[in-house]
Amino acid sequence: MTLELLEGSEAIAASAIAAGCRFFAGYPMSPFTGLLENMSRQLPLAGGVCLNAESEIEGVNMTLGAAAAGARAATGSCGQGIALMQEAIAEAALNETPFVVFNMARNQQDYFQATRGGGWGDYRTITLAPKDVPEAVEHVQLAFHLADKHRAPVIFYGDPLLAQTRIGVSVRPLDFGPLPPKDWALDGTGGGTGGSRQVWTWAMGKATDPGPGPDRHWRAIAEKFAAIDAIESRSEQAHVEDAETLVVAFGSAAKFVEYVVEELRADGHRIGWFRPVTLWPFPGEALAAATADVRRVLVFELNAGQMLDDVRIHAADRSAVRFIGGVSIAESGLAYGELMDAPVIRDRIRTALSEGGRS
């Protein structure tokens, strides 16, 4: 396996193209810009189209159109721009258009945005949060797979470290198994046959072939997301067997936590870590099991406490949950601040260890 030294944005773009992505539209915004630039360079070489959209709103709606026409398509931004896309992401969830949204976020403050959404209606967005570039390469292709599998938009939650770190990686097409045919996609051939297709949030159907309509359609959508919740959550954990303390973190922060936990174990501490790989569906059952016998559940995230809510919902004993993260932004406003650092995290964990936990 030959490794190529690729910047995260470059590797993510290459992986999207390896996954068959043939349409991309985005609006520059750091640290998403690198992905847009790489797509604009690489996608035409693969026979695809990359547009520097005039706005995030147009970018996401172009992507929705391309996806409705059956292409593997993606858009992206960072949290601020994703905020503008919420209406279309909700629409795509409700009219069942699969595409991938790359949130190359500036920090971890978009957890609520990703997992709760800001659009209208009963919908969820599958959200993958890789911890490093090699995993990001895999998650990109998994994101396209899950989108097509469930006919739903999927969010890839990246960050400045994933976007800008250069690392030796190998980007190849990955096979996640068979997918249903896109017989719903608009290709124009339905016209005049009496069986023309429609992609429609209200699912009213045709005069000659009525659809379920909003009531039945939206109930079916809600059931679909409940089913996804039951089968698609993913998580990783280590040292849960003997841990008195479990540290929960996602994305890059989880990689830092894993590093620090291993050091602390070498120092003799009975500590483990737990990482939600999917932020939605949140791996609640796995977390409940992992926290059954621990004294402390420490939540580390670079925000004011967002995943914290989900940990409190699912931890075996919510009184054991402590928040050790916080808001931490670089001077530039574009990247993580000083909190995303192993020595700082070690200090915070050690302080928490010196405090009591549940008995």
Binding site: L51, A53, N61, L64, G65, A69, L186, G191, R197, A207
Partner: protein, 259 residues
């Protein structure tokens, strides 16, 4: 010369114009009596059939009364968010360049919610056809002021009539689009008279021909009657349109492209 034999009763009973509906029309529309939008839909579908592109056409429909046409047009359709049809159509066209892609939007959809979408698509020279059904009011929500409402027009949010001091001036979408280099065909028609319907149909045909030739962006603004939203009796709609909207929005081709 055919001479009609009047010595006997006709062998077939007389038929209404509505009986000659194009086969792409799957059923009756549900809009108000006197509405101009079903007329526009009908000529649009006729053009698709005459150009023989029915089985490679994808429509993108915005939000307004015409949204219900999704149910009665036998064409592959994406029903999109308010104002975003040109962006969605862009994505479709870019991945299916062999398809004819059109949008159907009202003035509330195109001039209010999505003005930048249509302008950007036109400037990009996107090879799509945008159809603006302009009746100068929000018909679907019961007759409020849009960005295209003509001066003096009474609406539920301009009860004394639109005055420029309070509400500003109406936006002539076709004229804005015609000012952009990427627009290859721009025209404004009206379906308030028989001649206007025929002219509008020719405009739509040329717009699709422009798209199929890959010449660039095309837009047909169609003035349509909304007697309900205008608070006039249905039979007076066409005349009212001629006296009001047509005065503010002159009919004709603004940008033409020739082979």
């Amino acid at each position: 010369m055919t001479v009609i034999d009047t010595s006997q009763p006709p062998s077939e009973p007389a038929r209404r114009v509505a009986d000659f509906r194009p086969s792409l029309l799957l059923g009756e529309h549900s809009l108000c009596p006197g509405c101009g939008e079903p007329v526009a839909l009908r000529v649009l579908l006729e053009v698709l059939q005459e150009l023989d592109i029915v089985q490679r056409t994808i429509g993108v429909v915005g939000h307004g009364c015409y949204g219900s046409f999704v149910r009665i047009m036998d064409v592959d359709v994406l029903q999109c968010l308010h104002g975003r049809a040109p962006a969605c159509a862009t994505g479709i066209k870019r991945v299916r360049p062999d398809c004819a892609v059109f949008t159907m939007q009202g003035d509330g959809d195109m001039a209010n919610e999505g003005l930048q979408e249509v302008l950007h698509a036109a400037a990009r020279g996107e090879k799509i056809t945008c159809v603006l059904l302009n009746n100068g009011v929000f018909g679907d929500t019961g007759g409020q002021l849009t960005a295209a409402t003509v001066l003096g027009q009474r609406t539920k949010t301009s009860l004394e009539g639109r005055d420029a001091e309070t509400h500003g001036y109406p936006i002539p979408v076709a004229d804005l689009v015609a000012g952009l280099r990427g627009a290859a065909y721009v025209a404004r028609g009206a379906v308030s008279t028989a001649g206007g319907v025929a002219q509008t149909k020719r405009m739509l045909r040329r717009a699709f021909e422009t798209q199929l030739a890959g010449a660039g962006f095309s837009l047909v603004e169609i003035l349509t009657m909304c007697p309900t939203g205008w608070f006039v009796p249905a039979p007076e709609g066409p005349g009212y349109l001629g006296d009001s909207m047509e005065q503010a929005y002159p009919l004709g081709e603004l940008t033409t492209w020739r082979h």
